[in-house]
């Protein structure tokens, strides 16, 4: 079954709702949540950094699950979802890295440090950027889809190993929800949950919208091919 452009209106609506919700959640970030005593206003980066990182990981999980499904059923629509999820994942993880670097500069005095989560995010960014390079190659579509699916599975299998190896090296990343007694004040927790959910809405919208665009792109390419045959 080919991918369908019917996701574009749904995706646009979801993305718009997500954008508005994210804008509204800034009230919680700047008015409701208290200013952190040590880092001051810089700590507010965290409310955008965490959702970016989590939804980037969700994107890569979609690529992994979609790649398995694609190899089992060979449905081009599944492949379109994987491509869209990877593009969004690379974008979000890139932004998570940038915001993490800004945080690190203020908190630790360096732009970059060897931290398992930062390193894992960077390595994932490289791996999935490689996936997008593979997507851009000039090779027959069926072969490209299979190659990308194999890479999508191998890449996600690598994530826990990257995290563990980076942790063995050393870590200074702050624990957020994992610390006993809670690393966050309740107001901060509410703000971060609101930002994460809003970002989730935006993510779902972008994913549907981009999948629809990919479907349209493939239809246009098919039509161009048919027109070329007629000439």
């Amino acid at each position: 079954m080919p991918p369908s452009p019917r996701h574009i209106p749904t995706g646009s609506a979801l993305a718009a709702a997500g954008g508005l919700a994210l804008a509204a959640s800034q009230w919680l970030v700047f008015r409701h949540a208290p200013v952190e005593a040590t880092m001051g206003l810089t700590q507010k980066i965290f409310y955008i950094h965490l959702p970016l990182a989590w939804w980037a990981l969700a994107s890569f999980l979609v690529v992994f699950a979609g790649s398995i499904l694609f190899l089992l059923r060979r449905n081009p629509a599944t492949d379109a979802w994987c491509r869209a999820a990877c593009e969004i994942g690379v974008l979000l993880s890139g932004l998570a890295l940038l915001t993490g670097m800004l945080w690190g500069r203020q908190a630790w005095g360096v732009w970059w440090t060897w931290d398992p989560r930062l390193t894992t995010t960077l390595v994932m960014w490289f791996v999935y950027a490689g996936y997008l390079v593979l997507r851009g190659l000039d090779m027959p579509a069926p072969r490209k889809r299979v190659a990308c699916a194999v890479l999508g599975i191998a890449a996600f299998c690598d994530v826990p190993l990257v995290f563990l190896s980076a942790r063995l090296w050393r870590s200074i990343h702050p624990a957020v929800f994992a610390s006993k007694g809670g690393g966050l004040e309740p107001e901060m927790k509410l703000a971060v949950i609101a930002c994460t959910l809003s970002m989730g809405l935006l993510w779902a919208g972008l994913l549907a919208l981009r999948t629809g665009q990919i479907a349209q792109e493939e239809r246009i390419e098919t039509l161009e091919g048919l027109a070329g045959q007629d000439d």
Partner: protein, 225 residues
């Protein structure tokens, strides 16, 4: 399957090594990397064991890219790949054969890289050699599992070396870290927690990618051009 894998490996090794420049490009690139890095230190200034191990594994990683690029290019002429696909044996035998051939070629190259690293980077093998050898074998096994799986991705593509480098290097980060730490120990660095956790990391990587290779190679190595 094992019989075909052995025959594949023997065929690949014969084709690569019988030609004068079979492994020369990979060897020269690796040795050049070690030499160029040795220029980064002032005369008489020591290179730390970790830096030396990093350069050694960087050379090995580039060598791996060139080796697997060459191994998969062997079947491109005359559509020999289709002949392999018609063999009455599991296609995983081709993956295993390529991995064995790659493993032998990588080890052969490292026989040159190791003395070069010791001489040019001012190191000595003062650490535990048995653990160092075990680490070398485990890391090479992982590199070859990845190389034999993803090397098939670039079949028929232009600029394959750069594509394979972009795909291989980030995936291999855990394995390279293990190789660097264990290599540094072989060059005399003391690991506070011992080598056990890094050896387990290399073993886990090998397990994941040997499994992935067995499961996924069949999808990649098909009749599609």
């Amino acid at each position: 399957m094992i019989r075909l894998a052995k025959a594949m490996a023997r065929k690949d090794l014969t084709l690569v090594l019988a030609r004068g420049n079979g492994l020369a490009q990979a060897l020269l690139l690796g040795l050049l990397l070690i030499f160029v890095f040795s220029l980064s230190r002032e005369a008489g200034q020591p290179v730390t064991p970790q830096e030396a191990a990093t350069v050694f594994w960087l050379s090995s990683a580039f060598c791996q890219v060139l080796v697997f690029n060459r191994l998969f290019a062997l079947e491109e002429t005359g559509e020999a790949r289709l002949g392999l696909l018609l063999l009455p044996a599991p296609i995983q035998a081709v993956w295993l054969g390529k991995a064995i051939a790659g493993f032998c070629l990588l080890l052969l190259a490292q026989v040159c890289f190791l003395p070069a690293a010791v001489a040019l980077l001012g190191q000595d093998l003062s650490g535990p050699l048995t653990e160092g050898a075990l680490a070398l074998l485990l890391v090479d096994l992982g590199l070859c599992a990845v190389g034999a799986l993803l090397g098939a991705l670039a079949t028929g593509q232009g600029a394959r070396e750069s594509l394979l480098s972009v795909l291989f290097f980030p995936l291999q980060v855990p394995l390279l870290l293990a190789g660097i730490k264990l290599g540094a120990q072989t060059f005399g660095l003391s690991l506070p927690d011992g080598p056990g956790s890094w050896l387990r990391m290399a073993l886990a990587f090998d397990g994941v990618f040997l499994g992935a290779g067995l499961l996924l190679f069949g999808f990649l190595y098909s009749g599609d051009a």
